[in-house]
Amino acid sequence: MSLLNAIETEAQPQIEAAAVRKRRRHVLDLDDFSQQEILEVLESAEGMSEVLHRDIKKVPALRGRVVVTLFYEASTRTRISFEEAGKILSADVINMSASGSSTEKGESLLNTGLTIQAMGVDIIVIRHPHSGAPYLLAQHLDRVGIINAGDGIHAHPTQALLDLYTVKEKLGRLEGLKIVIVGDVLHSRVARSNIWGFVKMGAQVILCGPSTLLPLDMLRPSGNDDQDNPLASVQVETNLDRALEGADVVMALRLQAERQNGGFLPSMREYIRRWQVTEARLSRANPDALVMHPGPMNEGIEISSTLAHGGRSVIEQQVTNGVAIRMALLYHLSAGGE
């Protein structure tokens, strides 16, 4: 079955589910979240954040549940924050990476998933270099909840939720804000999920970067006129100074070095000159504008070092909030249903 089919059959029931408040089984991307459900997750994360600040960071909510983190790609913050989130909620967390597992003997993703399911695991958190891999598992595993922790260039919904949470925490709202996402949007699963998240919450999203690195296919799918295109409000601006005019949030994306050789960029020097987020450029944004970065950063390339560690940067809060959001999601998937 193709990826497209997997997405349709999996996402469709959940859109209806949001309306009748059925239990959510998977978190694959934010496109099937309603505004209401996003708000619920953000509110729960606020309660979880209180637990994170206690002397004893432990509550019994998910006692007896088993969570496996299945990572086919390197990760520091996402994997550790899922592990910490699960452990604070008293779930048993098992970490698995592709190296050192049967994947090295050629076991397929599906068979690995079926094996984990047969062991009685409740939730699989998966990161995979191929877009759509979490959908494959969600389609074929009927007793395990799947959380997408990043798939190829497609989606990273938990990162987007923690970004929404951080902005709402700092600025008090999401609706009507001007969000500028700068850099390699085309290859950024973080940006793609953030586009869905911010648009659903009523923010104005502006994408900025070299036109070779902007996902025009995502914004204007063929055969879809603006009326029924949910992303019609997203704007594209290749000039960073113009994009930053009056911005409330500036999110810089990591520029992967290998893109330079892929014909996407004339040169790194030109990229830095035109699209690096710097203090001088930020003066065009709102005085209280937030500077964000999903990490890991290339300081001095997509963002200047002074800005990354300056007073407007909320990059560290993003990491802290990531644990609270992942606690809220693990809990959200475990509650209800019977």
């Binding site: 408040r21 239990r23 959510r24 619920e40 509110e43 729960s44 606020e46 309660g47 979880m48 954040s49 209180e50 637990v51 206690r54 004893i56 432990k58 509550v59 019994p60 909510a61 998910l62 909620l89 809220a328 809990y331 959200h332 475990s334 509650a335 209800g336 249903g337 019977e338």
Partner: protein, 178 residues
């Protein structure tokens, strides 16, 4: 089927005044007392009780809010409830804690609340104040202070509405929906 009103705004006001007096009588004042409301409606009742106490006794009583959803023993069988921040502005170590909730039913919420309290310290004593006791306990738990006892059928739903959350003070019994 029509709702059956159990308490109106005046009944609730009088019950909370009496409960406040009982708390003072039993604890001989407000020294070392902490009033802890269980989310959501218990929080508002706790605020009202605390303001009664300070009115009657002339000194402030600390109030805390407790969310107990992360301590429930039935996470799997309930719809995902919203987790609200617990607010514990004072150290409860060695204090006399009065837990406050709107309805006492199976006792499971109170059990979870006692577990939650434990994570913040070891109170000298935990007492329980409840606006309405409807019976059908599943655990060996009873309230120290009761606004009103009301016999109910297990399938009935007791609906507590408070000004702060619902714009009206009222307790009513409504039949379970089909």
């Amino acid at each position: 089927m029509a709702d059956r009103q159990i308490m109106n705004d005046q009944d609730i006001k009088r019950a909370l005044a009496r409960v406040a007096h009982e708390i003072l009588e039993r604890n001989r004042g407000v020294e070392d007392l902490v009033i802890v409301g269980i989310h959501t409606r218990g929080v508002h009742l706790a605020q009202r009780l605390a303001s009664n106490l300070s009115e009657f006794e002339g000194s402030e009583v600390p109030v805390a809010d407790l969310d107990i959803n992360l301590y429930r023993d039935d996470v799997k069988s309930r719809m995902s409830p919203r987790i609200r921040p617990t607010r514990m502005p004072v150290d409860i170590q060695g204090k006399k804690v009065v837990l406050v909730d709107d309805v006492l039913f199976t006792g499971r919420t109170v059990r979870a609340a006692m577990d939650a309290l434990n994570d913040f310290g070891r109170p000298q004593q935990v007492q329980l104040a409840i606006l309405l006791d409807r019976g059908h306990r599943e655990l060996p738990i009873r309230a120290d202070y009761v606004g009103q006892n009301v016999p109910t059928a297990p399938d009935e739903v007791v609906r507590v509405r408070l000004i702060e959350t619902d714009g009206i003070d009222e307790v009513a019994i409504v039949r379970a929906e089909e």
